[in-house]
Amino acid sequence: MYPDTKELVTSLTSIMSISGQEEQGRETLCSILQPYFDEYIPDPSGTHVFVRRCGKQGAPKLLLDAHFDEIGMMVRDITEEGFLRVVSIGGLDRRILPAAEVLIYGKETLYGVIGAVPPHLQKAEDYKQAPKIEELLIDTGYDRETLRTLVDIGTPVGFYEKTASLLGSRICGRSMDNKACCAAAVLGAAMAKRENMAWDLYVTLSAREEAGMASGCSAAAYRIRPDAAIVTDVTFASAPGVREDESGKMGNGPVLSLSAVTDRRLTERLLQLCRQREISCQTCVDACDTGTNATMLSLVGAGIPTAVVSVPITSMHTYNETVDTVDIEYAAALFAAAAEEEGLRS
């Protein structure tokens, strides 16, 4: 029984998981993923660990990591006139913020609009500048007094856009980074046939990647002590302004990272599996850094051989990140194949 890819992505993106807030969605997450896993292990780091067992005694452990957190903001002040001031969490792109719509996760979830300076107060040169995060005002339609009863300093603020369809199999919306890959991991676990599985599969939907710490992933991995790991995260899709050799083509399958920090033998095996099973895939050179959890993960304990399998998206770190669900499905097929492959590391 597989979940529908778009439905799965939609339900995962609807769970607020701004870095540091990953545990809030536990109940919803568990209720969505429960049919596909044998066990759920909460982790003090905020990481959600889901296990699918192969049923064989002493089976090796394969860790499949997808960070669960998303970029966002946090309230730092309420102005006299009742507007919110914020700081950013993760790499917020301030070029897309004027008039953006947000949700404020206070005592109630409030709707808000990021203010834009009216045109009569702008000079021609202002139009060339993106506003600074500290200058932004969020308009909630509340006065200061009422707002103070609903919103505390430190309240998380996230983007409003829900998942929507474009032409063909493409979808857009907030937090495809990294819910698209969370969906690929879950779908992969669901697709693996238990009778064929050679590994116990640990899917970690990990915390605090966007905050630049990789702490959720490495803490959970330390507890699990896997024999091999695959990190799945989004990568750049080919688009205007993005070099072809630093990106993947949308619709052509997951992008396997060729890097000095990942395990080349494991990566080669995955590429071979793709060829054997006729799974579309591509490669990309990330010489020194994959920009993912992989570096920290490979250093956990006595070391974990780690590969990176990415899903290409456009407009990364905007509220309309765009992804092709076909790429999610190819990635999932590869994860299922890996869990069934006894010789994954030989």
Partner: protein, 364 residues
């Protein structure tokens, strides 16, 4: 039979409708269907506007002063863009019709197509990670922007959209804030004026008595381009008085010095004395203000000389028209997220009704 829409439900329907300047047919169709039973006739408008007439009695009490023809005007179009070309990869390059601030486009969800058919797209953005840190604070130039509809190739894109097709924001109509007193949507500038005028028409038409003068309701095209359909509408209607219903940038947000604020949300319609293209008729404006005060209807004076509207063309029509403008204070106009106060919409509708009621037996 009375139609069951309210000003607010109609505003939602109109806000979500597709109507960038030059492509207002979808909006016009909605308006025509909602008001057909509440007017005596439609006037032809080759520009694509909707012009409707409610006939007056033509008989005035002795000594009464009344206009012969009062024109109430609003515009149907919204800011948008046009598809200029389609790339090999199936991405759409655009010409903006959005005013000067293109910063509000990047990352947004849009609809592209024509009045009958649209597809969803997204204004793609080069990822921040690949932008040199010195450039991360620079707004994206219109030439860097493109719309991705998910086509993947020029051929696939051309099956659904064409060069010259139109585009505008896709944006939910949201009630929010204290006591859900605010709404957010696209094109509230000036669908708000359209919704209020439709309501006023229904109310006037259902009253037992008619005003002495003819009332003309004009829903015009292409205001956002400055090439106003109001110019030709005013020529045809030939009014002696006109009231323009608009939305004006409020500027009542934190950090804006008081002397640069234009109007405040929640304090009623803003009456213009002067803007960048019109000096309004003072006795007429004073008379409207006096009407508001007499009936305790919230109303304010627009406090900053900025912007312009259809009055620019109407007041110069034929031998001249006495013009007034009532604007709903709106935040973030010309973006996907216009914000207005529901109270102001009610106040403006009330004010127009009070004005029309006074036309029955006004004596000087």
């Amino acid at each position: 039979m009375k139609q069951d829409w309210t000003t607010m439900s109609l505003l939602e329907e109109l806000s979500c409708a597709f109507g960038p300047s030059g492509c207002e047919d979808a909006v016009a169709d909605i308006i025509r269907s909602r008001i057909a039973m509440y007017c005596d006739e439609f006037l032809p408008d080759p520009m694509g506007g909707v012009l409707a007439r409610i006939c007056g009695t033509g008989t005035m009490e002795e000594g009464a002063v009344s206009p012969r023809r009062l024109m109430l005007s609003c515009h149907m179009d919204e800011v948008g863009f046009m598809i200029r070309s389609i790339t090999e990869e199936g991405l759409l390059k655009i010409a903006s019709m959005c005013g000067s601030d293109t910063r509000v486009l990047a990352g947004r969800r849009v609809l592209v197509g024509n009045a009958a058919f649209q597809v969803r797209g997204v204004f793609g953005v080069k990822p921040l990670h690949l932008v040199k840190s010195a450039d991360r604070g620079s707004a994206l130039d219109i030439d860097e922007l493109y719309v991705d509809i998910g086509a993947g190739s020029r051929q696939a894109a051309e099956e659904v959209v064409h060069v010259g097709d139109f585009g505008t924001f896709e944006s939910d109509f949201v009630s929010f804030g204290q006591e859900s007193g605010y709404i957010k949507g696209k094109a509230l500038d000036d669908r708000l004026g359209c919704a209020v005028l439709c309501s006023v028409m229904r109310r006037v038409y259902e009253m037992e008595k008619r005003p002495a003068c003819d009332l003309y309701f004009a829903f015009t095209c292409r205001e956002e381009l400055g090439i106003s359909g109001a110019r030709t509408a005013a020529y045809r209607i030939d009014p002696d008085y006109a009231i323009v219903l608009e939305a004006t940038a409020a500027g009542d947000i934190s950090g804006t010095p008081e002397y640069r604020q234009v109007a405040h949300l929640g304090r009623g319609g803003a009456l213009s004395l002067m803007d960048r293209s019109t000096i309004y008729d003072r006795p007429f404006t004073d008379w409207i203000l006096e009407t508001a005060m007499g009936e305790n209807i919230p109303c304010q004076i627009k406090q900053y000389v900025s912007g312009g509207n259809d009055a620019a063309h109407i007041h110069k029509s034929r031998t001249g028209v006495r013009c007034a403008a009532v604007s709903a204070p709106a935040r973030y106009i010309h973006t996907a997220s216009n914000v207005v106060a529901k109270k102001d919409i009610e106040s403006i509708e009330q004010l127009l009704m009070a004005v029309i009621n006074r036309l029955y037996n006004e004596k000087k």
